[in-house]
Symmetry: C2
């Protein structure tokens, strides 16, 4: 069969080719190109090629796997280590700031080179054909672009029945695993958020990306993506030239004149993009004469673009608001209520599942970077003086791949590490943070994330917000690279302090002092009538100032007034003459039993869409014997339906059995699909495998005889057993909640083989 | 204890009173006033009194219950019936339009009078003190105003741990009851919606309310609410004057001079407000010289204000978008994908749970009218020619309170009706609509809505959208009156037709014809080069016109050209001369086996917040022996926690039992709370009753002896049983999923009484 292939916007025609194999992706429009057109495009100088995938890429990778990888990596690791040592030395000696910056920049370049080599050289057991997977995801409506009958909107996606069921299962498991297990306090807060809240959190000021515009058409590009794209194009051309590519493209590319020096210079830019300021970006764009990708027009200077969606609340437009960019703020502003709900006791955790919004400048990478997405966040409030966790022992024995800041600095790879040791050695800052890393690991792997392709990467000191104590991202390896799926940060007391400052409401907890203590308390009194007469409209300023004086300042003022009857004070640049009559200070002793403190917060933050995407990639399989048969090995608790019910044929006698089984499954709360369509049983099995249904119940002619039985088939192993119909719901309930494994079930019931044979026979007849 | 009482904004002071009893509500700010201040306010002419509640109102109601209610209602019913007959006659005779309008208007007035009488006269078994309930809901953080540390935003609420757990339970039950049971196709679509989609749905044009502004301050009011408020104030004053009020207020109110004629005139306005146009409202405001409530300033003319929140998508602002005002549109725009997912077969239902947004002009009534809310909607697509439902028999025997349009017209009350009969007699238009009414009824009552306070009200022809076939609202009786919680409408093919029109994509289904038939197909060919030469830049207009000619028009044109070689045609006001060379028509016969049709859609639409609010009112109880002990009788499946675990005291030996029980409950997926605080056991029971926890497990000294046992207490009956600790999780799982009743459990285990006595004793010591 010949399939049509989507092609680049710049050449809006459709090609037909024998197999659905893509060779390269166009940077401007993100579409995959067919070989023929790649040649043509390069010849004509239109389009930009960015990645090599498909069958040829797989061949390439296989041959590389045979080389001794570590030998090849050795020089790269050494280069990182050497530079890491220089940086450490400069830091320790507190040397010249500019020197240090340069050294860090060089370190990043070397790290990036090493990572690229690792990506290139490591044999991938699980390389998947993303296009094939996305085709399945869209064809069976796991998800697709929103509003596409109206042309669609970039960065907005709808989940169809399969995606929606998977999402509901992931969230239900999240509630069980985190909220129920830890008795967290779940909240559900407004998405519409008034401006002041997001000023306090820093989002109004800092939550932005740099954007450049095509000066003629007004088309916008994210500046860092544009620069990155330009550089990648050059690098790919290099890659193509150095022989990592099919011979017939090579000759075309040799025409492009890129010398090694320029290559090296460009390559060094790549790791610096993330930290570039507006001026650096502008300079880079000008130096390399970068143009708008679609039109080749000039580009504007980069300007900061705030990523929040603005709207106004109420009819007069007087309340400026935004759609929240994260769910966390709702928990901080409710801190007092939650503390009270918890009888004033710490630690406790708040949790929230909900949607957030980011107005990305030019969203790409499918589900990885979208404008509207579901998050699940936890804010665990804890006394900064005691971050131990009573249940840490439950996770201390886990062996998890940790990619420490030191290893990143030294060019060493991520390492399988015992979590208990990691906390003991202070690699992970404290038990509570460590506990959450362990729980996140358990959650992700339970949902089907492959632990071989999951790592926790520590933020390096230059990546971390200045207030954060320690931060680890759970990253999943996908065809988009290692993507952050869960962040887990100890944010110290930053958030509550900010909201206290902006709202004027003290967000603190109390704890008993080891022993009660005496404190000296100021008792300030001001003579309002005298102050009012003297300072008229400024009287409130003065009174406010006097009443809020600190203990020491009040004492000073009091002494001065006692000595000289009056004194000048300066409030916000204005001078006021204060007399002894205006101000009186008495001090008294008070015994206090508790002290107030601002809690620290440890914040695990889950991107649900990204986790789902990683799950899909990690569970996508092509049947060995048939390239057209693709399916997902999702675990039963996550699978959209737990089971499919299939009558062997349209025979009328089967109908009542289908109804009976379906209603017993519904009663047991087992989601299932009935497939009475006319396809062969083999076709129907493979259709249900495609949507990750782990079990299939088939009614055949033997089902009609007493005792009534049916067969139960497992998706991944193809194995079948035969059991009584009235035992089905019970067995499937165990299997779909994960309390019983398929291994246990097969040991209890006889294996069934006949029908498989029938199915195969039938298939050959039907095809 | 003396409690402080919130008072009207117009008088921002706090009063203290002996009991927390409110007497009236201020229209301007919605706060409840204390008796003393009501007197003062009326004397000074500030504030507007709108409702009488609290203890005095209850006394009033009790005395009224003794009168023979139906006798009192008789004249009102007769008056409605009389006018209803006139309207029917006018409709049947297709008489004068203006006459008919007048008659309908008079009918509404009479209906409103009747309803008011019913509300006034019917004895309320479940009259609750809303203030007391709201106090509990906020104190235990079921919900509260969003962002209140920043002063809050009207119409936005956050659910705390209790509200959030209840909401999650309601939604989980909704998924089981609707999606799982009917195998609906759930989707999860974007909230951000481009303008074109909401133009197609009619929201851009019509989704608005009229608003008036205070001409000096710019403060906005919803015009209908303002007029209603003014009228109600007058009516209340009347009510007070006619003796339905405490004597000591009466004398104050007599001062206000309102004669019966004016009263009657004003009263007649009330039912007409909903249908008033902008000009009518303006006239009313001017006639009665209505002013801005807070300032007494003049008011602007009413202007339409669109209730959608606008934002722009993407960096250039070129994509105008809105936050969706309902979830329905996401399902319509995905119709093609869903139909394909369902193998092209109808009927099927799509379902969606998600948030929607409405920028209310001046939200009030707490959770009833908010700016951001969760909906659950179903779109059941069905062949308009066959609206039978295969499972209708499952609900046909339900007896449901239906308030038909006819009964509303005739002044008759809502009637308990057999659902099967209602569909048979065509009172409910079709089986599918009837099936959903039944399923909605079962869902609401399962969630704890009181069936005595639930009715399905049919829309009258003048309320219904012109395209709708039949529409029934599930309304719950609350202290705010009967409020719509679920709408259930047969919307015919309106929505799909609109989206087809606006998107150009055909949204239709196919069905096999009873017998295949021959159709004549046009085969039009145009001579593009000749047309191009002749009409230059207009060539596309002409070609498009010719190619889209209907069968008959093409035939006509063809014949004309055959007769006279050329002819003039008019396209959008422009003349074109068409020659025989330009246009060729061939016809051919084709045999077709299927026909296309636009499906009808039946739409049950649930407001989750409103349902929760109704559930709370219907389940709020004050303990007979203690006014301070209030609690919610929510059913276990909805309760936020299924159980509380309580050690009798702080004794160290209890701790390991608490841990053991808690972990067995967690494993069984039973949400629970542990209360190890120091209060007496009685206090802790009543604290867990407050948050609707249905069961309490208590560990006492007998628990320490083998076989280890604990007591299990039920919230509503106070009854306790004693059972083995290792049986607890199993029993509680049955109870909390509703598969076992408390009645069954008590028959299996011995009743336990001792500890109750201990608790009571302990209470008396502690108090």
């Amino acid at each position: 069969m010949r399939k049509k292939l989507r092609v680049c916007k710049n050449k809006p025609q459709e090609y037909a080719c024998k197999a659905f194999v893509s060779v390269a992706m166009c940077v401007s429009c993100g579409l995959f190109l067919h070989t023929d057109w790649v040649e043509e495009a390069i010849a004509k100088g239109i389009g930009q090629i960015v990645a090599v995938t498909g069958t040829d890429a797989q061949k390439l990778k296989k041959s590389m796997a045979e080389a001794n990888i570590e030998t090849l990596l050795e020089p790269y690791r050494a280069a990182v280590k050497e530079q890491g040592d220089i940086v450490k030395k400069l830091k320790d000696s507190k040397g010249d700031e500019i020197e240090l910056k340069k050294a860090v920049s060089e370190l990043k370049i070397r790290k990036k080179k090493l990572e690229d080599q690792i990506t290139k050289l490591t044999p991938k057991e699980h390389v998947i054909d993303r296009l094939k997977m996305e085709d399945l995801l869209k064809r069976r409506f796991f998800y697709d672009q929103s509003f596409s009958i109206y042309g669609g909107v970039t960065g907005l996606y709808d989940y169809g029945p399969m995606g929606c069921a998977i999402k509901a299962n992931v969230l239900a498991e999240w509630r069980r695993h985190f909220i129920l297990e830890e008795q967290m306090l779940e909240v559900d807060c407004s998405m519409l958020t008034p401006e002041i809240v997001l000023r306090a959190s820093g989002h109004v000021e800092r939550f932005s990306d740099y954007m450049v515009k095509d000066v003629k058409t007004g088309e916008c590009y994210r500046a860092d993506h544009l620069i990155e794209g330009e550089i990648l194009t050059n690098l790919i051309i290099q890659l193509l030239m150095t022989g990592f590519i099919l011979g017939h493209l090579e000759k075309l590319l040799k025409a492009k004149d890129i010398n090694n020096e320029k290559k090296d210079e460009i390559e060094r830019l790549l790791p610096q993009i993330d930290n570039m300021k507006s001026t650096d970006m502008h300079a880079t764009i000008q130096k390399y004469n970068m143009k708008a990708p679609l039109t080749n027009n000039d580009l504007s200077e980069p300007v900061a673009f705030n990523l929040m969606f603005a709207t106004s609340i109420g009819p007069t437009g007087q309340i400026k608001g935004f759609l929240r960019p994260e769910t966390a703020q709702g928990m901080f502003v409710n801190f007092k209520r939650l503390l009270e709900f918890n009888h004033g006791r710490l630690p406790f955790a708040a949790a929230q599942i909900g949607n957030s919004f980011r107005n990305e400048i030019s969203p790409r990478s499918g589900l990885i970077r979208v404008r509207e997405f579901t998050m699940a966040e936890i804010e665990h409030f804890v006394d900064p003086a005691d971050k131990t966790h009573p249940k840490f022992d439950d996770v201390a024995n886990l062996e998890i791949t940790l990619y420490s800041a030191t290893n990143q600095m030294n060019g060493q790879p991520a390492q399988l590490t015992n979590l208990g040791h990691a906390v003991e050695s202070k690699l992970v800052d404290n038990q509570t943070l460590g506990y959450f890393i362990g729980r996140i690991y358990l959650f992700l792997t339970k949902c089907g994330v492959n632990k071989q392709r999951l790592r926790f990467r520590q933020h390096m000191s230059n990546e971390m917000a200045h207030y954060a104590t320690d931060c680890w991202d759970a990253e999943c390896q996908t065809t988009y690279g290692w993507i952050e799926c869960v962040g887990c940060a100890d944010r110290s007391c930053y958030d509550l302090t900010q909201h206290t400052k902006f709202s004027g409401i003290k967000l603190v907890a109390e704890k008993p002092l080891p022993a009660s203590k005496k404190v000296i308390v100021n008792d300030i009194s001001t003579q309002n009538s005298i102050i009012g007469k003297e300072f008229k409209q400024d009287k409130d300023i003065v009174m406010n100032y006097l009443n809020k004086l600190s203990h020491d300042d009040a004492k000073n003022l009091h002494e001065k007034l006692n000595q000289s009857n009056n004194t000048q004070i300066n409030i916000d640049g204005k001078e006021f003459k204060i007399t002894r009559q205006m101000f009186e200070l008495k001090t008294s002793e008070k015994i206090v039993h508790v002290e107030e403190y601002v809690p620290s917060v440890i914040e695990p933050s889950f991107g649900i869409g990204r986790i789902m995407y990683a799950m899909w990639e990690h569970n996508f399989v092509v049947r060995e014997d048939d390239e057209q048969r693709t399916y997902f090995t999702l675990p039963p608790i996550i699978a959209p339906y737990k089971c499919v019910v299939l009558p062997l044929s349209g025979n009328n006698e089967f109908k009542s059995f289908v109804k009976l089984i379906s209603s017993s499954l519904t009663q047991a709360g087992i989601s299932h699909k009935i497939d009475t369509s006319s396809g062969s049983i083999g076709k129907r099995y493979s259709r249900s495998d495609e949507i990750a249904i782990p079990f299939a119940v088939t009614i055949d002619f033997d089902s009609l005889k007493q005792p009534y039985t049916a067969t139960l088939r497992e998706r991944d192993s193809f194995k079948q057993i035969r059991l009584k119909i009235d035992e089905l719901a019970n067995v499937l309930q165990g299997l779909s909640t994960g309390t019983v494994t398929w291994g246990v079930v097969t040991s209890m019931y006889p294996e069934f083989k006949e029908q498989q044979a029938t199915a195969a026979k039938e298939d050959s007849i039907n095809e």
